[in-house]
Structure formats: C-alpha cells, structure tokens
Symmetry: C2
Subunit: 397 residues, 2 copies
Amino acid sequence: MININKKAESLGKVRSVIRDIFEYGNARRKEIGAENVYDFSLGNPSVPAPEAVDGAIRDLLDNCDSVALHGYTSAVGDETVRSLIADDINRRFDAGVTKDDIYMTCGAAASLTVSLGAVVNDGDEVVAIAPFFPEYRVFAEAAGAKLVVVPADTESFQVDIASFGNALTPKTKAVIINTPNNPTGAVIKRDRLEALCEVLKKKAAQFGTHIYLISDEPYRELVYDDATEVPYVVNMYDDTIVCYSFSKSLSLPGERIGYIVVSNRMEGCRDVYAAVCGSGRALGFVCAPSTMQRVVSRCLGMTSDISVYKTNRDLLYENLTSYGYECVYPDGAFYLFVKSPEADATAFCERAKKYELLLVPSDSFGCPGYVRISYCVSTDMIKRSLPSFKALIEEYK
Amino acid sequence: MININKKAESLGKVRSVIRDIFEYGNARRKEIGAENVYDFSLGNPSVPAPEAVDGAIRDLLDNCDSVALHGYTSAVGDETVRSLIADDINRRFDAGVTKDDIYMTCGAAASLTVSLGAVVNDGDEVVAIAPFFPEYRVFAEAAGAKLVVVPADTESFQVDIASFGNALTPKTKAVIINTPNNPTGAVIKRDRLEALCEVLKKKAAQFGTHIYLISDEPYRELVYDDATEVPYVVNMYDDTIVCYSFSKSLSLPGERIGYIVVSNRMEGCRDVYAAVCGSGRALGFVCAPSTMQRVVSRCLGMTSDISVYKTNRDLLYENLTSYGYECVYPDGAFYLFVKSPEADATAFCERAKKYELLLVPSDSFGCPGYVRISYCVSTDMIKRSLPSFKALIEEYK
C-alpha cells in the first residue's frame, strides 16, 4: 500500500477533455485519412515562428561564448534581456516599467504559479471570471487558495461588473483576468476594465486589503482589427502583476519562455518582487531557459504571421453565423466560442463527430452550453469542414 | 499593509552566501583586476558544451519543421527523446527502464520539486545526508515536509549507516542522496550504498511504509578515475526515483533540461508516475524546453571536456594537501571540501579574502567547519592562486 500525494496523483490521472478529443482524432485520422478529419480541439500555434527567431538562435550560437550562452543567468533573468523588455513595454504602453520589475519565467503557466505562490496564503481566495482556462483552478489550489468563479456574462463575454463585485471578499487575494480570452476570443474593452479596476479599488479599500490583479496575457498580440485595443492594466490599477508568454505571439509554446511584471506602482513592490523570486525558487525554477531569453529579447515587437488566424476567424465566423450558429464576434486569440444548439454541449460534440468535426465542450471552462473551436489550423481544413458544419446545424432545424 | 506569502518573500530576500561572495568578487575584480582575484565560489561549468550540442541545434533548425520543433511536446516529454534516454540508461546500467518511466524536466531543481511534490504529504519527513545542497531544505519544505538531516560522516564523507538508520521514522517519505556530492566531491561506494538500501528496506518493512530513495544525479558523469564507480540505484532499491540533469555533463545549466526516472520496479509505479505528472502540472511545468529535449537526446553518452576538471582537481588536491590543508580526496563533481584550520569557517573565509581567495564556508551545507572550493575554473587561475593558499595556511602554523 503506497501513500503518495493523492492530489498530485489524481491531477496526473485526470485526462483532459481536450487531450481525449485530440487522441480520438489521431485514431480517426488513421482510419479515414487526416484530410477527412476536422480537428478544432488544440490551441497550438499552427504558423511557424518568425524567421528572426531561428536567425537569432544561429547568431547567438555563432557569436556568443558557449559558457555564457548556455550558462545560468541570474535567477530573475539576464539583465540586458530584462532591460530590452522593459524598454519595449514602455515604448508601447508608457508604463514606467523597469528591468527590476521583470522576472523571466518558463512560460505562462510558470508565470501564474510563481505569481500565485508569491501572494497567496493558505485559505485565501483567487477569483477567475468564467469562462476561464481550466488550469487556473489547478494553479490556485496548488498555491493554497480556493478558486472563486464569477459567472459568465454570456451576452458579450465581457465581465459582468455586479457579479464581479459580489465575488470579492476580505479573503480575496488575487483576481485573474485573461484578455484576449481563452476560450471566447473576447477582448475586455477599456471602459469595462476601468469599471473592474474601480470595483477592485473600492473593495480593497473597504476590506483594508490589497487585491492583486493578475493579467494573464499569452494572447496579447493576437488581435486582428486595428480598432481593437488591449489596454495595459499596469496603467489602470496599482496592484497589478502581468503574466506574459511568448508562446503564441512567436509560436514558441514548447520552448517555455515568458515573464512577470510586478508593477512598481504597488505598495511594497520590492517585497512582492522578492516574493516572486522566492516563489520561483521554491517551485524549482532556477532561471528561464538562457538561450531563449536572448532570442525573445531580439524579437520584441514581432509576431508570427497572424494574418492566417485573421483569415481563419473571418471565414469561420461569417460562415458559421450564416448557417445559424450563435457566436459572439471574437476580437482576438484563436478561438471561436459557439453556443451549442442543444443544452448539453458534450452531446452536441458527440453529434459533431459524425461529421468528423472535433470540437471542445465548454464545461471545463466553467461555462456549460458552448463549444470552443480553435482556428489555429490550416485555412484549407476550415474550407473543407464548412459543409460538415452546415449539415450539423441542419439537424437542429 | 500588504499580506503576501511571507515564506516566499523571505526566500526571495535571503541572499545566498555563495551569491554574496560572488558579488564581493565582482567588486574586487573591478578594483584590482580580474586576474588578481581567485574566485572559487560558483559551481558553474567552466568548459563549453561539446560541439555536438550546437551542431544538434543547427541541424534541428535546418531540418525540423518550426511548428513541431518549437511546439508543445507531450507533458511527459517527446516520446522519441524518452526512448533514446531509456535505451542509453539500459545500455550503461542494464536497468530495465522504459520510455514510460521517464518524465522530462526543466533541470535538476525541477526534477526534485516535481518528485517531492509527487510523493510528499503534509507533515512527512524528507531525509538529507550532510553535507547537502542547501536548496534541498527549500524544496522539501515547499512540498510540505520537514527536512531531517543525517550528520556528516567526516571521516570519509561516505554515509554513516548507523546515523542514517536513526534518522528514519514512520514519517519518512523520502531520502535524498547526491553522489558525486556537492559540496564534498565524494562518491558513495557500492558497499556503502548497498548498506544504505538494506537499512531502507528493513525500516520500510518495519514501519509498513514505502520510503522513496531520490537520487539527485547532476554530477553522475563527472568522475575522473577509471576505478570510480557510480552505481545505478535503480538496480539496488525498488522505490527509487532518479533526478537527472544535463547541466553539468553537457555544460548547459542555463538551458534547464533534465529528467526523472520512476523505477518500474516499485509498487504502484504507474500511480507514482501519474503523481509526478500531476505534480509537474500543478507547479507550472507544461513541458521541458522542446528544442533542448531533442538536443540532449542526440548527445547522450557525451560530456564536455571534463579532463580540465581532472587536471584542476589533481593540481589543487596535491598542492593544498602538501601545504598542510586537510581534505578527503574527491572522486567526482568539481568541488574540494577542505577542513577549515580554525573552527569558524566563516572567519577562515574572511581571512582568505586578504589573499584574494574566495571560498564558500560550509555552514549552509549542514556541516560547519569546512570550505567548499569549486574547481570549475581555469587551470591558470588555480596555478596563480597557489602561493595565496600557501601563505594563508602558514598563518595557522
């Protein structure tokens, strides 16, 4: 009889719904050919990294001393890299960020676990707004917090400010926002964000606490219309921690590289930054991958060719809504969040399989009754899938 | 008044002794010139990665699809990479390891935090044998355990088996061993390891528990004499978890790449492996860096040019002992563990600074009265430092 950590064991055994669908897809691809399966399940960038990425790697190999390039950086990240990132942030957002506010991480998940580990004490509450990336629950609970969920605003997938206010208590230590959003693609508008920050300020003052706004921003660069603004939260709310990742913008999800900004406008910012360092240390992050730190610092302001995602979004949105699907227009990320034509989204996804359409039911995102369609796929596959989408919705008419 | 995680904050603020010495060295180098400072403080590989490492990176960039190369791997690591590593282990140690027993990690620290998170429950005890890498305490406590320290066997820096047995209780969940050892360079001999495993088996049977033997092996390849054997613990004890890193063997400490082996001989091995996956997930490790996974799988069996370390060890050991320093002959790693000629090793290190010798007092390794000398430095610096070592010990005669 073994007596290991049961929570870890169950986390390792619970197969994610998305993974299950992906593996069903693999089996189906073998049976009927990959070209006949329309797999919209995975949020994995489908366009290559910009050429500058591989160019930067080659240049570093050619011109940088091996011991320096592959050696430890400071635990917080290479100083030059942090300076370049701070400069880029300030150029774009005039946010007064310094290199000393930046902590390099092994990607978005690490940014979140390190940040939560820095501020959360056992029994605290962490607020997420439905629908949300399911790992938020895992990360919040691992840090010792209870996840409190704000119900989805299904009108616009913005944030319902009244519901949001109701979720805040004297135990609220942090709020996670994610804009552009996985799974809806929604971008929270400036006035809504301002209202959210006002509520945070009011409640924190009322409770005599600090509530940290953790802005999870892996999709920041993935917006497709000039008019779409993704406001920089550091400029709106002092107790802000930004969790950034280069996974989606540079198509580098496997390389695990991102950063945290601890806003220098918060009270005790050096203490919070120290806690970020301590949290990263206790979790086993010695430093972010050293070559990749230098690579991303040379590719700031670049993205992969996201025009493909825009083409895909427009093609899917226009056709699906013309067939009768209900969907809020997604401003960013690479997801379409479509209302299931029957209450049980899982049943709908099963029916979709008859047409070789692989969609993800929304239940695990804290907002049942929808499906997530990842459009980080080839445009050609989307075109071929359209008759299936049409036939599927016809079943409900 | 902020109310963040105090433990994380203090972990982030406690400056490590080693870091302090290194920064003193930086200041001193500016004052009197780098060539006049003899800095033996850091355990950072001083020889470049084998050329095959950069060659593998270039080849992957040239011949691998960008989306696949930089994309997510499976959370446990790329399947081909794990197969190649299992094959290499079995070729060398005939250990019956399979790809499904291997979990790729972001280096040695991650291997340890993930393993401890998998098996430890709150209130468990984790045993370390002095002298030990100070982060073991941080990692054990972060997992919810109390660290129990076996006093050093200062005769040989092997393990005193009687003391070891006394440290085991019904609460002991894991034992960490580290051979070749940081900070002593000692390699635990086969008969001593066998005795250690026998005690573990006897005590686990007596308590009706499982005690996991976590073998922290970043220095496995760094041994310098043909006669020195580093036994493979999987073959000696069923409840073994190996924590490996390529940081030292391939001089890649900044790239964060290593792996865990969950021995398939342990009871419930699939459950323990699942707990490793769940632990890694909760800590925020999505996958190990994707390019580096492929790189190390192409460089198995290679090392950096460790002959430099052997030269350094021999030079330092022969000269220091001839001057009158007391030191156990180090079989591996790149450390010399020298007895301080006065009881207070910190005072001795202060006195050494007069001769521009930067040494690390052993207190933080759980074994006061010694200094650690890292010989991953240039041979030339060692030669130039010898008169200083000689003059320093003369003060005590």
